[in-house]
Symmetry: D2
Subunit: 328 residues, 4 copies
Amino acid sequence: MLKVGLLGAGRIGQVHAVNIAGNRRSTLVAVSDVQAEAAAELAARHGAQARTSDEILADPAIDAVLVATSTDTHSDLIEAATAAGKAVLCEKPVDLSLDRAQACLDRVSATGRPVMIGFNRRFDPNFAALKTASLAGEIGKAELLSLTSFDPAPPPVSYIKVSGGLFRDMMIHDFDMANFLMDDRPVSLRAVGSSLVDPEIGAAGDVDTAVVTLTYADGRIAVIKNSRRAVYGYDQRIELLGAEGLLQANNMLENTVVKSTTAGVVSAKPTYFFLERYMPAYAAEWEAFVAAMLDGQAMPVTLEDGIAALALAEAATRSARSGESVAL
Amino acid sequence: MLKVGLLGAGRIGQVHAVNIAGNRRSTLVAVSDVQAEAAAELAARHGAQARTSDEILADPAIDAVLVATSTDTHSDLIEAATAAGKAVLCEKPVDLSLDRAQACLDRVSATGRPVMIGFNRRFDPNFAALKTASLAGEIGKAELLSLTSFDPAPPPVSYIKVSGGLFRDMMIHDFDMANFLMDDRPVSLRAVGSSLVDPEIGAAGDVDTAVVTLTYADGRIAVIKNSRRAVYGYDQRIELLGAEGLLQANNMLENTVVKSTTAGVVSAKPTYFFLERYMPAYAAEWEAFVAAMLDGQAMPVTLEDGIAALALAEAATRSARSGESVAL
Amino acid sequence: MLKVGLLGAGRIGQVHAVNIAGNRRSTLVAVSDVQAEAAAELAARHGAQARTSDEILADPAIDAVLVATSTDTHSDLIEAATAAGKAVLCEKPVDLSLDRAQACLDRVSATGRPVMIGFNRRFDPNFAALKTASLAGEIGKAELLSLTSFDPAPPPVSYIKVSGGLFRDMMIHDFDMANFLMDDRPVSLRAVGSSLVDPEIGAAGDVDTAVVTLTYADGRIAVIKNSRRAVYGYDQRIELLGAEGLLQANNMLENTVVKSTTAGVVSAKPTYFFLERYMPAYAAEWEAFVAAMLDGQAMPVTLEDGIAALALAEAATRSARSGESVAL
Amino acid sequence: MLKVGLLGAGRIGQVHAVNIAGNRRSTLVAVSDVQAEAAAELAARHGAQARTSDEILADPAIDAVLVATSTDTHSDLIEAATAAGKAVLCEKPVDLSLDRAQACLDRVSATGRPVMIGFNRRFDPNFAALKTASLAGEIGKAELLSLTSFDPAPPPVSYIKVSGGLFRDMMIHDFDMANFLMDDRPVSLRAVGSSLVDPEIGAAGDVDTAVVTLTYADGRIAVIKNSRRAVYGYDQRIELLGAEGLLQANNMLENTVVKSTTAGVVSAKPTYFFLERYMPAYAAEWEAFVAAMLDGQAMPVTLEDGIAALALAEAATRSARSGESVAL
């Protein structure tokens, strides 16, 4: 039984708390948050204790911590937790700075403690089934990957300003999915981005619509499309063209009802946001972390994976600004 | 090259004229209609002559006639044409009276001339593909057949009054499809019908919504659903459950565009009417008739098939009135 | 907080235990089972106590019991529980005997305690969305209802023998759905049934494939199709044709991956069994029971509803045997 | 009635012949081909005369010519035909050389004769419906366009060598579609391409898999994906994300049959090649040309459009080689 401390009791922390408590091989022991009340409430709901993060890291009875705090604390907490001997599952991204993330990796490596980065989409049942089919050779050699990833609506501009920008905040998921699905790292990257959704996003120096093309040493190509706004819901799709076929992972819909009238044939919309779409993914992600810990397997997503995605985000940010391709 | 006379220049006659003229192995020689002007216009469009039906039947240069006149003339014209040595493709139904149709069969048999009944749905590419898959054993033994057949809107009540009723006029297609797909004739039948769409249809002694269940000697079951109104278009679907799977033939849509907005995900409607949906079926039907004639094959749909469907329609009419099942 | 005793720790009892424990307004206090070990294990998993059903009914601290025992105990337990002052959620069917179920209703009525029958499909998000759209008038007046309900594989013949037959055991769900969706009770019924899937089912006096047609006083019609075998998964679909459109609730699929190769375009299968398909329905059903209890609402599915469905099942059994229609 | 000469009796010329002959307002008068026999056969099939192209251009009774010859003759024939006073519908591309095409435009402009370039996809009913919906504002302002265009199998390398390369030969259709759907010309372009399908294509100096990103002055973005091989059929899809929704035009399938077995749920494949998929588009294209001629409307696709697409193809060829973006 894995004893777990949860750092961060916000929206995503609450999701993790349910999964930690619901997993037969893990227990939620303690919760911390900068807002003590939030930690107290979440802890109470799951029979855990509210503590400070320092107390949690200092408790020798706690095996692992899940870091679900704000991005600017991630690398510090990963370092502190591993230094305290804990295993870590940390939400993405590792850091907004590639240098800082790299330093974090160096310090973590010295401790030898396992760290997993929470790229939840790898664990989405649909995307995982696509990956399994690809690995099984069902479409032959994969050649052209397309990732579509549109949010239903942009976050507040105040969030945009501290987010690190679309490529680090949003497309980083897709960079990781490209690394995951292509089983390789790209050799060059071209990015274009625009502020079409909200001029204030542009005024803040960020883009809200972007396309990145990745090329691989063996000639394979990946394309990522992002938009901060798809009014019909959270649009998360993957296409992978191979020598012997095409794999597509489509959206999950709110329900299966279809209405046919004179106005047309109307289906339900995609599930509206990531908490709905990726709820099963978060549970499977936690299950994978627990399995790695208790069954002695390697972490399915490593700190190196987190840094690799961040490196692509940083390169894309540069390419979008310069208009030129970036060699990786 | 098959030389063809077309009897009837109405809506469906015009469809047949295009197919006769467009087929490389048939020529449209002459057209007749009770409205001479209609015949003249259609004949001119395809480089044929406008004549009376008597003239067409008397012309030894004409090999075959296509009967696309009003239902009450079908059996007379089939008899006259075969007596004159012509091969015949006649629109469904053979007749509204089962006795009259049976007498027609007797007289045709005496001539030895081939007659095909125009059950166009057998030649719909979707339904034909379903039949082919079933025959190939792709779902094992077929056990439960469902036919959904909804018209977009009811015909005028004036037409209803001379139509022979829903079972003879509309469901006769489905009875033939059941015979075609189950490769057997049912042993009993239960029908229910209501007038829900238009009270005038009920006042005229007919129904506009009906369900018929057919049972077969080996226990298999078929269900047919008809409605005179499906405001979203011509709804024509088949499902066949077998020991090893399910086959479905779905509607053809007006186009493949899908629109996702806050209002939902909207696809195009089914093609609106039988002339759109079954246009390829009519061409394939004619192709099959020509092939049977010129390549010495058996007619793919016989006069006996037409009578078998009519017998089911008559039994269904009785069952719907009595509320009881009818042994066949 | 509703304090709940669970009677029955089998497959479906385990599903209910998770929902009782997972609901914020209910607690699982005690579990009983004829196999004491099963009760002990399930109780331990949820921090409840293992007791006998008598002990549970006698405990004044328990507000409600969930009856998930074998069918032959349902009416006895409903009576005993209500006599003991408990509210009851009982799995369907109330009883295999209509007389016995009616007697149960009489006794329960005398106690004034609320009883809900577990027709889980009413709470399936897809079917519930269809019902909501119908109630909202989105397709005008409903006229023709079609229920397709195929199990992936037949149960053991030993189960068939004590099941009460397909109509009472399996189609009873569809009878309830017809009552639910048509908001009325039918006036006549026609049933046909065959043993096509497994001859031993026929030898046991039951059918494995059946079609029932229901007619309503206002002329509306409903058709139910059941098969004990759909090798591709649990096939649960509804279609409702109305004056202004069609509503369809389709299957939920295992995932959203589509693979296109030379062999065709392959999607995932429907979820394989009722525990997967109806998992959200069971949670919503329990939520509805809790809401009725704590918020003082009427039970959303009553004992009368259970008896109404059973009456249709009994009539269908007779109709399938006699071949005649049954007035209701 | 438009009198038409057809230059070129090959595969695509035969398609055009059927449409010219089948249109009520046009007549096929004459056919030429470098292979006299092919011209003779095609002419005979449609009651036209086989002549040389010089004879056709010299015949004052001929109003218009349709140029369906090999690409290297297009600009010469457009010039000769317009100089002879004919209207012209010419297959794409105008020429493989942008300079030559520009010179052609200059000479044609001097004649004042109308020329239409055969970008058939604009007339595909699905794509046309998407454009109509976009123009009608159904998804608000269009922001991000994605074009997927995969051939089922690569042409022979001998063809590749004279084709002008993927960007001029294949993606030119998509460049025109981008111009058509975005109602603007892009300001910059980034292309990547690889030889993944067939190493001989790479040895011939061409690519078989490519992605191009186009940016517009107002920040909008378009992405085009091409592959010479999609073993499941001709994959032709469009997605257009707008401020208020998403429009998708999906593939047309061979039929509507769906088979569910233990192996999954199998639909038909996309229609296999452009002659099947775009058959209705070619007919609509011809209809549009005839309408422009006889009803005094402007040509729906101009020689300028052909040159604009060619300019993008040339820029993409350069970008794919240099790895850099190209300003337009």
